[in-house]
Amino acid sequence: MDFYYGLAQTVGIHTLLGLSAYIVLLTGQVTMAQAAFFAIGAYAAGMLTVLGGWHIVPALGAGAVFGAATACAVGFPALRVKGLMLVVATLAFGEGVRLFFFNFDYQVAKGEIKVGPLGGEGFRQIRYFQEHGWSTGEVMLFIWVFVILSMAALWWFDRSRYGAVLRAVGEDELAAQSVGVNLTAVKVSAMTVGGAVAGIGGGLYAHYTTHIEHANFNVLLATFAIAYPIVGGLKNVFGTLAAVIFVQAFLIEGLRFLGDWRNLLFGALIVAAMNLRPQGFLGGRRA
């Protein structure tokens, strides 16, 4: 049973990551920086519970604030460039953040051992759940509370006037601008919300794995972040969830019996999925 709980935890965390990219993709922007916001949330929340002795919920909130603030700060200069330039700018930013954590040391003695991030060694001993005796099932429920809250919030955004504005910018920037939509404000706000969701996801990830290091937050993770909403389709938030289940549960866990061949099939199935349903699994007639 613990295996399925663990799988559900992974699916939940990756859904948060995918949702953070989903809202930015709605505005037609492709961002490769979600892994960076995820990393910032992970390090911030981890440092607050381990070094600061905080409760996990405010620590996650702080992770979200850090993620959102960084996303907002990155959004202003990065969104001056658009389309594929933005892909490269955010990709470079993500790599920059990863390299920052690669060179980031902040260790504090706690009892006999030193804890805290240590450059390339990573950040060990994020043992909040274990120290407070949470069972795997409880951790899973805790993660899914955040997933469901985020999905509900984004679902509500989608249905509201704000969602209509986001999609208007995504469909045609010029038309949106001509009816008085402030493009910069819309894009930066979407980026900020995405950063907050990624920050929460990162904080949960740090506590779920108990050990994070810079290599966790590489380009591949950023690619996964945008892959979920694109593969699942941008019609609504459930597309992202469907894609996460497809990738994490089916491609990664379900095909484990194929051994080495699974990795080969992974890329091929993504290519096939995009050829067969370019608009995503749950996408409408047009993307």
Binding site: L25, V30, P77, A78, R80, V81, G83, L84, M85, V87, V88, A89, L91, A92, F93, E95, G96, L99, F100, F102, N103, G120, N218, V219, L220, T223, I226, A227, I230, V231, D260, W261, N263, L264, F266, G267, A268, L269, I270, V271, A273, M274, N275, P278, Q279, A287
Partner: protein, 287 residues
């Protein structure tokens, strides 16, 4: 001072390969307005394909390996076009982005699968030659890299600006609909662009293999990031821009590698990119 000049000259020579990779990204972008994220992986894949000839005829000379990589690159380029672009509607910007990511993972995994993850030695030419100019040394293999790159660039420029295919390519890149109305087969031109960039990529991959001395699938991600950075600094869609930016990035990173160490090197390359995005977002050469 001498160290500095030496670092610059080595970097410039190696930067020629970045220029080739940048040209590949920029050409596809110029013609299709799409990003082919699988390009760097395909180039490395082609370099591996070059090694296949050693399996067939042991002791084949290095130039045969290079030729085989060149031709393999063309084939892989065509396959990438067929699997990632041909069947996906042109109006959809996200699906080909994702399918090329899938292709990137697939090529990586094929390499890992075939070589069992072991780095492969790559034959080099002139690696025992050292040119001495006063207190300078110029590595023979790096000179070869730069020389072959220059020949490739001249051939490419001649192809684009002096042949009917080049004329058609430029027509499609400027006005796809008008080009189609004039009787140009757009799909064929697109496929040819992928074959040409694939051939270039094959050479670039082989040159990188020869100057590093070994090939490993770990090369693909950094090379993708560097290639994209070169493309953006040079100006998306500009061939001369990619050449100049490739040399610039090569020299820049080698200087910082010399003085700040290999872990911090890429951080400075990212900063260079951000300086360009803030002060000159359209790149060195506006296409």
């Amino acid at each position: 001072m001498l160290d500095f000049l030496q670092a610059v000259s080595d970097g410039l020579l190696f930067g020629a390969t970045y220029a080739l990779i940048g040209i590949g990204f920029t050409l596809v972008f110029g013609v299709m307005h799409k990003l082919n994220l699988a390009y760097a992986a395909a180039s490395i894949g082609a370099a591996y394909a070059g090694l296949l000839i050693l399996q067939v005829a042991a002791g084949a000379p290095p130039w045969a390996v290079f030729l085989c990589a060149f031709l393999g690159g063309g084939v892989i380029g065509w396959l990438v076009y067929l699997t990632c672009f041909h069947f996906i509607p042109l109006s959809n910007p996200l699906a080909p982005l994702m399918s090329t990511v899938g292709m990137l993972l697939l090529i990586d995994e094929i390499i890992v699968h075939v070589t069992a993850g072991m780095p492969q030695n790559y034959p080099a030419m002139f690696d025992d030659v050292m040119l001495r100019v006063g207190e300078f040394t110029l590595r023979g293999d790096l000179l070869l890299v730069a020389g072959v790159s220059v020949v490739c660039m001249i051939a490419l420029l001649a192809l684009v600006y002096r042949t009917r295919l080049g004329l058609a390519t430029r027509a499609v890149s400027q006005q796809p609909v008008a080009a189609q109305l004039c009787g140009i087969r757009v799909a064929q031109v697109n496929a040819m662009t992928f074959i040409v960039t694939g051939l270039l990529g094959g050479i670039a991959g082989a040159l990188i293999g020869a100057s590093v001395g070994a090939l490993s699938p770990l090369l693909t991600t950094p090379l993708t990031v560097k290639g994209l950075i070169v493309t953006v600094i040079g100006g998306l869609g500009s061939i001369p821009g990619a050449i100049v930016a490739g040399l610039l990035v090569g020299a820049f990173e080698n200087v910082f590698q010399q003085f700040r160490g290999v872990t911090e090197r890429d951080l400075y390359v990212m900063l260079l990119l951000f300086a360009f995005l803030v002060f000159r977002p359209s790149g060195l050469f506006k296409p």
